[in-house]
């Protein structure tokens, strides 16, 4: 952070507003591309903006039997958590704004907060649909957290064996020293497996088909969100959009942190611009393969199938990836 508090506030505001706008743009791209894959024309790219503005104009209903402060608090906490994620993730060529104050472990916790907030909101809504959704969300959280944490910690551990002096959990260190440059063939295979596991975890983390089980519109009427309307629903909508960008940015920071500007011998503001554009493309690629294609190509799983998928194959893949990284260190 250069400059005083004023500059910091400006940077923070830029990241927050930019993150929200980007999230909505990516949501629009997501809906457009999904529609094209289904041979539809699809909504305009601005559709998510229309949706949010409309939701803000709607009445905000709090059910009679709901616990109002929890019910209204959950969406705010959810959006706050995903927005603060953006402060800890490297975006484009820029180091994380609060990089010195939080690391990968904090990011793991912040990723879990929106899910927990939705769970609390779902239980507070006093609706059977929302309660079922909240229970499913709990099972999902217990399923995908394990492979996620294995993958993140293995990468950090391998880096710690290479750079014993560096604080390897710091995301700026992780992004500045991509493991691909250091590991041998075994480690590279391990990294590919870990990336694969995280690509499967991503749609679950974002509650997208085939893992939108807690929100299943067609069976439990929107689940966790069943009782939410108006402003609260708009906040959850925004949180979902921002979380997509944050999750993709995390994957980019871990596996594809390379910039384009150095390779093109650029410098100054042009380099920053090129790096940001390249970062946006990388995020789009991650979103495309882990969210859009998957959500068009698959049907929703049942909760027990999803739990089994994460506990056995995906955890297995990430454990094999971890073992390969360990063997790579030994070899």
């Amino acid at each position: 952070m250069t400059g005083g508090i004023g500059a910091a506030i400006w940077q923070g505001a830029t990241v927050l507003i930019g993150g929200a706008l980007l999230g909505l743009v990516y949501k629009g791209i997501d809906r457009k591309l999904a529609a094209r894959m289904q041979a539809r024309i699809g909504p305009p790219l601005r559709q998510p903006f229309f949706d949010v503005v409309k939701l803000l104009a709607k009445e905000n209903v709090v059910p009679d039997h709901a616990i109002a402060w929890l019910f209204n608090g959950a969406p705010v906490v959810s959006l706050a958590a995903v927005s603060s994620l953006l402060f800890y993730l490297p975006l484009g060529g820029f180091a994380p704004l609060l990089g010195g104050h939080g690391d990968l472990v904090l990011v793991i916790y912040l990723l879990a907060v929106p899910a927990i907030a939705m769970m609390v909101g779902g239980f507070a809504a006093a609706s059977p649909y929302a309660s079922v959704g909240a229970q499913r969300e709990m099972v999902m959280l217990m399923s995908y957290e394990f492979p996620l944490v294995i993958a993140l910690v293995s990468i950090a551990w391998r880096l710690s064996t290479i750079l014993p002096e560096a604080s390897v959990f710091s995301l700026s260190v992780l992004a500045a020293n991509p493991l691909w440059d250091w590991v041998g063939p075994l480690g590279a295979v391990g990294l590919v497996l870990l990336a694969l596991a995280l690509l499967v975890v991503t749609p679950a983390e974002l509650s997208k088909i085939p893992f939108d089980i807690p929100e299943a519109e067609t069976e439990i009427a929107g689940g966790l969100l069943a009782e939410y309307s108006g402003r609260n629903l708009a906040l959850f909508y925004l949180a979902d959009a921002v979380k997509t960008v944050a999750m993709a940015a995390l994957l980019v920071a871990l596996f594809f942190p390379y910039g384009l500007a150095d390779r093109l011998w650029l410098s100054g503001p042009l380099a920053g611009l090129v790096d940001v554009a390249f970062f946006l493309i990388k995020v789009l690629v991650v979103v495309f393969f882990s969210v859009i294609v998957v959500r068009v190509g698959f049907a929703r799983l049942k909760i027990d199938q999803a739990a089994r998928l994460f506990w056995i194959p995906v955890t297995g893949i990430s454990l094999v990836g971890m073992v390969l990284l360990i063997l790579d260190r030994v070899a």
Binding site: R31, A39, K54, L56, A57, L233
Partner: protein
């Protein structure tokens, strides 16, 4: 009431209420959402709960037990909202007109913005009805502002 933002009619989410219909109109509503008619072009999305809805698509003549439920669903829908009646039964009672167990038509139970006649109606007509519902919402707003 505040002025409705311009985005409102570009993002109408619909909730489907079947009040004792024969399933004909309901199939046409589903057809309107298929890739062939692609309702999402206009920002129209089917929601699973009335809390998310802006437009209620009501089919059927409103049978005796469904009357209470229809009123309840109408009350559960956050304002501003509009009701679109889909099909002849809901519009006039249709073949169930004056039947002993029918409390309809729909406009005898809840305020209706748009009628889409037909037995069953075409998906194009349903899409047209939903888009017209947005116009009705605007009229409602204008009259409330001037009043």
């Amino acid at each position: 009431m505040r002025r409705l933002p311009r985005s409102f009619k570009r993002a109408l989410w619909v909730y489907h209420v079947a009040t004792g219909s024969c399933n004909g109109c309901d199939i046409e509503i589903v057809a309107a959402l298929t890739p062939r008619y692609d309702a999402e072009r206009f920002g129209i999305m089917l929601t699973g709960t009335p809390r998310h809805a802006d437009v209620l698509l009501v089919t059927g003549p409103v049978t005796r037990p469904m009357r209470e439920r229809l009123i309840r669903i109408y009350d559960q829908t956050p304002d501003p909202k509009a009701v679109v009646v889909v099909g002849g039964c809901g519009s006039t009672g249709g073949v169930f007109y004056d039947s002993y167990n029918v409390r309809g038509p729909v406009d005898a139970v809840v305020p209706v913005a748009v009628y889409v006649p037909g037995c069953p109606c075409r998906p194009e007509a349903i899409l047209d009805g939903v888009v017209k519902a947005a116009v009705e919402l605007e009229k409602l707003e204008r009259s409330e502002v001037s009043a």
